[in-house]
Symmetry: C2
Subunit: 273 residues, 2 copies
Amino acid sequence: MEKIRRNERMSAMMKILSGAPNRIFTLSNFCEMFGTAKSTMSEDIDILREVVSQFGLGELETVTGSAGGVRYRAKVKRPDARKFVGDLCQMLAGSERVLPGGFLYYSDILATPSITNRMGEIMATEYYSQAPDFVLTMETKGIPVAFATASALGVPLVIARRSSKVYEGSAVNINYVSGSGNIETMSLSRRSVKEGQRCLIVDDFLKGGGTAKGMVDLMHEFGVTVVGMTFVMSTAKPLKKRITGEKSLMVLEMDAENETAHVKPAFWLNGDA
Amino acid sequence: MEKIRRNERMSAMMKILSGAPNRIFTLSNFCEMFGTAKSTMSEDIDILREVVSQFGLGELETVTGSAGGVRYRAKVKRPDARKFVGDLCQMLAGSERVLPGGFLYYSDILATPSITNRMGEIMATEYYSQAPDFVLTMETKGIPVAFATASALGVPLVIARRSSKVYEGSAVNINYVSGSGNIETMSLSRRSVKEGQRCLIVDDFLKGGGTAKGMVDLMHEFGVTVVGMTFVMSTAKPLKKRITGEKSLMVLEMDAENETAHVKPAFWLNGDA
């Protein structure tokens, strides 16, 4: 094999690392792949770390210890996150997207990869330190953003259903009170999670928090710890939700009289990372 | 600003290009970002194209014309796709995953990013040339893989629902005959697609083809052309489906008597790309 140059090695490594966020690659992995010495590889990684940081492309971290190596995390800097969410809010403003009944149409941004994947990275940034084992969402609209968050965290997505399905095997069902005050059912396959795991809840919309509370209760049934909750949008009212400690990207205020939606970036996005 | 070296530029470009598959970046984009001349940039891209090809990381293409530039496509070579799907089949084999009623449990692989995103790239590889404007799926299990395919194609995902929702606005509903012979409803928001667009259908499972046929009929209602259909798994029986021309990754044969599942890579994966 022809000798591989530094620029070629580094480009390939960047693709491999950023294509598998949060996964630890040993130096030996790359030494074998490119036929280089460990010292050379260390230099490559030092430069790569600088590049990633300089151009705001995430974070490259060296992990020490026996399971050590290098890993890429799709971290978004707070000002960049604030700017991105601010632009989204602009896109959602006005009256065109207000539907009869005072609902806001935003399904499109929930499944447009360039937007959805970025939201997932912003959400993941807040919870890398909590080391969740999986992401949980309740079908349907939040699935793409929950999957994008799971991708950035490098963990599986688990989907709770409205009823149990034959092709999911035996399931745990719980009842919960939805936003509209109805008693609803939430179902999760027994095979999908294990006792003692850590879970991040991701969903598209938070109003009263009934569904979110249902997911928390469901996790308790499985002996799973909920390490965080994050939503694309939450409503300004009611101020008091049935859950606490969640992070939403945007806050929605509906002006029913004028049929206008006001969407603002959530307050925490203004703070330091 | 300090002068940026070739290895730094190339690494950053690799991340930016592969992070936005199928999007065309003009050379000027990158010249501005890095403060380099067009000739230097062209050289960078020539080297990058080689790297991507040599390490099987996809494809970098130069697009000529007034809207020209460079774009990354997450193309998977046929032998690599065949190997990946073969490994998946191994993972799904045996009796552990067979559920009462002769169903196969594989929800986990449908929402594990390292697997799901790769399936999405394999599916996208087959349809880049058809230039779909969006990906369509029917809720729920196929959403992550459909989103992964949409990500690789750089187009939005559109999700058909079992019933119309107030927060989706006015919708078109159609009835279709499901695999079990029941009449079911499929609903799609009017806002989500436009007449004259091109659609790729992606779903997790194909048995008789009733749901798939429903999606095709739904697209006709919208004046949309279906350019392809692709599924994670299709059943060996019935051999004759209600649709034709689809590509599935795996073929499932259930041995009901012995409660064992046989899963094989689809035949087309053996062919040339």
